[in-house]
């Protein structure tokens, strides 16, 4: 085997003969025994050693395997109804959606939402009342009692007249 062919092969496949193309392996092993071949292997081996540090991904989780095993029934159910709906696809992706969308869960979610809404309106009303200023209260009083309103009008009229005469 020629020096360049061996070098090109090792640069692509690394230093381990097991990874070399089967049809080149015999010739390559012969060249690897030479000094030039050993030098090329030494360089490639450093990168192979570094690559060995890369952690193998964790095996599939049992829950994921169970999800895959359940796919045929889901695909069958969807195809019997025609094209899979968006909700169906979401259910494949997130099986927990099935729990959220149970009738019992839906009514509980509805009750919680209604309670939150009522509480929100009540708290909002309380805060609005607390924010009223004395002047607001006065205005409210004036609007509610016609007598008080006419008294204030009379006072304001007197003050205006006095101002004009001065």
């Amino acid at each position: 085997m020629e020096h360049k062919i061996f070098k090109d092969m090792v640069e692509a496949y690394g230093a381990a003969p097991a990874r070399w193309p089967a049809d080149m392996r015999d010739g390559a092993e012969g060249f690897a025994a030479t000094e030039a071949g050993a030098e090329i292997l030494r360089t490639a081996l450093a990168l192979d050693t570094a690559l060995n540090l890369s952690q193998a991904p964790a095996p599939a989780r049992p829950a994921f395997l169970a999800k895959l095993q359940a796919l045929p029934q889901q695909v069958k159910a969807a195809s019997s109804k025609g094209r899979a709906s968006l909700l169906q696809k979401l259910r494949w992706r997130m099986p927990e959606l099935n729990n959220w969308l149970r009738p019992g869960a839906l009514s509980a979610q509805g009750t919680a939402l209604a309670t939150a809404l009522v509480l929100g309106v009540w708290v909002g009303g309380q805060e609005a009342a607390a924010e009223q200023t004395p002047f607001d209260e006065e205005l409210a009083l004036l609007e509610l009692t016609p007598q008080a309103s006419s008294t204030l009008d009379a006072i304001l009229l007197d003050e205006t007249l006095e101002g004009d005469t001065q």
Binding site: A50, Q55, L68, V75
Partner: protein
């Protein structure tokens, strides 16, 4: 596969038990995390169930064909997604409880993973298939739908790029 096409549930269950790990492994290396990888593998299995008839047993092995389905799904997703930068120090762990040796080891592993993750997708896939999944050059080329010369070119450029990156690391891996 013939049994699967005819709707045999046992054949499908056996296929999952025998092969799910290897497809998840490739997807995890390509996607960079197991959660996304699970989504990609699940999509590929849905495709298998709905279009099992697309597989031509005479044209090649099932695993080779399905590696292609999974890796194409991952590459599509990676091209669709734009990388989201995490805040600085997001994945920093508490280093006080670790020994110097384990820190050095961890640094080296991180350097290798980092160098792998910066490779262009197809170089990364070529290295994953040939190096980590130990596919033959013929099988890897078939999965990637390229000829062997093109595969070797991807492998050579990928390894060279990793070598250059690791050579600049403080951990002096090379």
């Amino acid at each position: 596969m013939a049994a699967l096409v005819s709707g045999d549930q046992t054949a499908y269950a056996a296929l999952i038990t025998r092969h799910a790990d290897r497809f998840l492994s490739v997807a995890t290396r390509l996607m960079g995390n197991q959660a996304s990888a699970e989504d990609m593998v699940q999509d590929a299995f849905i495709k298998l169930l709905t279009r099992a008839d697309k597989f031509n047993a005479e044209a090649g092995r099932f695993t080779t064909w399905f590696y292609r389905v999974v890796s194409n799904r991952c590459l599509d997703e990676l091209r669709r997604k734009r990388p989201v930068a995490l805040p600085e120090g997001y994945d920093k762990e508490d280093e006080t409880a670790q020994t110097d040796a384990s820190l050095i080891e961890r640094d080296k592993k991180e350097a290798v993973e980092g160098a792998l993750n910066t490779l262009p997708e197809r170089q990364k896939l070529a290295i994953t298939l040939c190096y980590f999944e130990e596919l033959s050059n013929k099988e890897a080329a078939e999965v990637m739908d390229i000829n062997i010369k093109a595969l070797e070119s991807l492998l050579t450029r990928g390894r060279q790029s990793m070598k250059n990156q690791l050579a600049t690391q403080k951990s002096a891996l090379l």
